[in-house]
């Protein structure tokens, strides 16, 4: 009972702040809506017995990525957008979105998903996640580290000189 109440609170928070992100006119409040959405998605993870991902989500998104984005908005995104989105583009965006949502919810309602049982004691703890990561997923872990180094070098190189 408490869990479903918490779920609906966090889901409402996520929903409202993502609507804020998409529909607010100005760039900076929209990106703050993104930060709120990321925090409340992270809180939803803790309801799924993954508190580790709550911390990762809040530190990574609401911390690192959003600081970067807000820095970008404040330093570069000042320019007024003059021309509006055309009406046909808006209508087609809504049609695509509603079609996606309709088919998605139809698939979900057709498939009888079982209710979950009470999780075992250790499930979702940081120890278990770390053990699984280095035992079963060691190679993807190393590949991810290479990708992160390449992305870091590439972003420094891209931001240093302007596009010709």
């Amino acid at each position: 009972m408490i869990l479903s109440g918490l779920f609906f609170t966090f889901a409402l928070l996520t929903f409202v702040s993502s609507l804020y992100l998409v529909f607010h006119q100005r760039t900076l409040p929209s990106s703050l809506g993104m930060a709120g959405s990321m925090v409340s998605i992270g809180l939803l993870y803790s309801l799924l017995h993954f508190p580790f991902f709550t911390f990762v989500q809040i530190i990574l998104y609401a911390g690192a990525v959003m600081v970067m984005i807000i820095y970008l908005v404040m330093s570069q995104g000042y320019e007024e957008i003059r021309n509006e989105t055309s009406l046909s583009q808006i209508i087609s965006a809504y049609i695509i979105s509603v079609l996606f949502l309709f088919s998605f919810s139809r698939i979900v309602s057709k498939s009888a998903l079982p209710a979950w049982e009470k999780a075992e004691g250790e499930f979702g703890s940081i120890k278990e996640i770390g053990t699984t990561l280095v035992r079963d997923y060691a190679v993807p872990f190393e590949i991810i580290s290479i990708i992160l180094v390449v992305a870091m070098a590439g972003s420094v190189l891209l931001a240093k000189r302007s596009l010709k």
């Binding site: 993104m34 984005i69 965006a93 278990e128």
Partner: protein
Amino acid sequence: MNITPYILLAGFLFSIGIIGVLTRRSIILVFLSAELMINSTNIIFLGFARLLENYEGAMMTLFILALSAAEAAVGTAILVSFIRKTRTSDIDSANLMRW
């Protein structure tokens, strides 16, 4: 409590992200809406990891998080150099590869 509301929430977030990507003018907000779509898939992965009580979905989420951090870094660098070149954040100015 079961997994269905989580999946429906993820579907809602994904369709909001679609609207954001297709209708916003600022290139920064298009980027942020794409991030929102990535995060809605993470909810589904973690929900099924919880339902099946194994760690495969959780590992997938971990890798998606790492990849989207890398993507945010590269994306921000591209946005900085794009805005520096075109002097605007209007998405219609992104016509460098159009012919």
